[in-house]
């Protein structure tokens, strides 16, 4: 188990309920693979430094968690399939 940090950007034009559901999906996805979430921090709506998929705003969520290194690739792949996520990044913290 290693410590990781995940940042993902959700579409900003989703309504509250859909946003909550999307964040919940990611959290359970991590938990279901023996991951341990230490903190989920919602930055909220932010202006992007450059447009992604023709939108200028995004909803940022930061997740600190512990995860099995071998499972990270699978996690990234699943996040890639999620169309509500504009961009994500998983970084190892030491």
């Amino acid at each position: 188990m290693h410590k990781y940090e995940l940042i993902y950007i959700l579409q900003a034009d989703l309504d509250e309920a859909t946003l909550d559901a999307a964040v919940e999906t990611i959290d359970t996805l991590i938990k279901n693979n023996q991951g341990e979430i230490t903190k989920t921090d919602r930055w909220g709506k932010r202006k992007l430094a450059y447009p992604i998929q023709k939108t200028n705003e995004g909803y940022y969520v930061l997740v600190n968690f512990e995860y099995n290194p071998e499972e990270v690739a699978a996690l990234k792949r699943t996040m890639g399939f999620n169309e509500q996520i504009l961009r994500y990044s998983v970084v190892r913290v030491d």
Binding site: I7, I9, L48, A49, I52, L62, Y88, S89
Partner: protein, 107 residues
């Protein structure tokens, strides 16, 4: 003639300039740019490099979005590497631009 040539010199020749100016004796057309002598991150241990901290990182990019060189910012080699890495991470998640200006209106 010499004036215009000096003016067009690129920053890369900075290091040689110092020796040259002694030989030529006249450097009244050269603009003096004061540069920081110490690495900010070495002198202030509380200042950490984090790809999420846009306020700190934005000091290390110029108005076209490029990473500023060490000779301008004064950071040591070790921290410059970390800064460069952090900026690249920040660009990927659209916190910093790949090119062009941006406004820190979110803070």
């Amino acid at each position: 003639m010499t004036d215009s040539r000096d003016y067009n010199r690129s920053d890369r020749s900075d290091r040689n300039d110092r020796n040259d100016s002694q030989g030529r004796g006249s450097n009244r057309n050269r603009r003096f740019v004061s540069r920081p002598k110490y690495c900010q991150f070495c002198s202030d241990k509380n200042l950490t490099i984090d790809y999420k901290n846009v306020e700190v990182l934005s000091r290390f990019i110029n108005e076209t979005g490029k990473i500023r060189p060490r000779r301008q910012t004064g950071t040591c080699a070790k921290h410059q590497r970390e800064i460069a890495k952090a900026i690249k991470n920040a660009r990927h998640i659209a916190l910093l631009p790949f090119e062009g200006d941006f406004w820190v209106e979110n803070h």
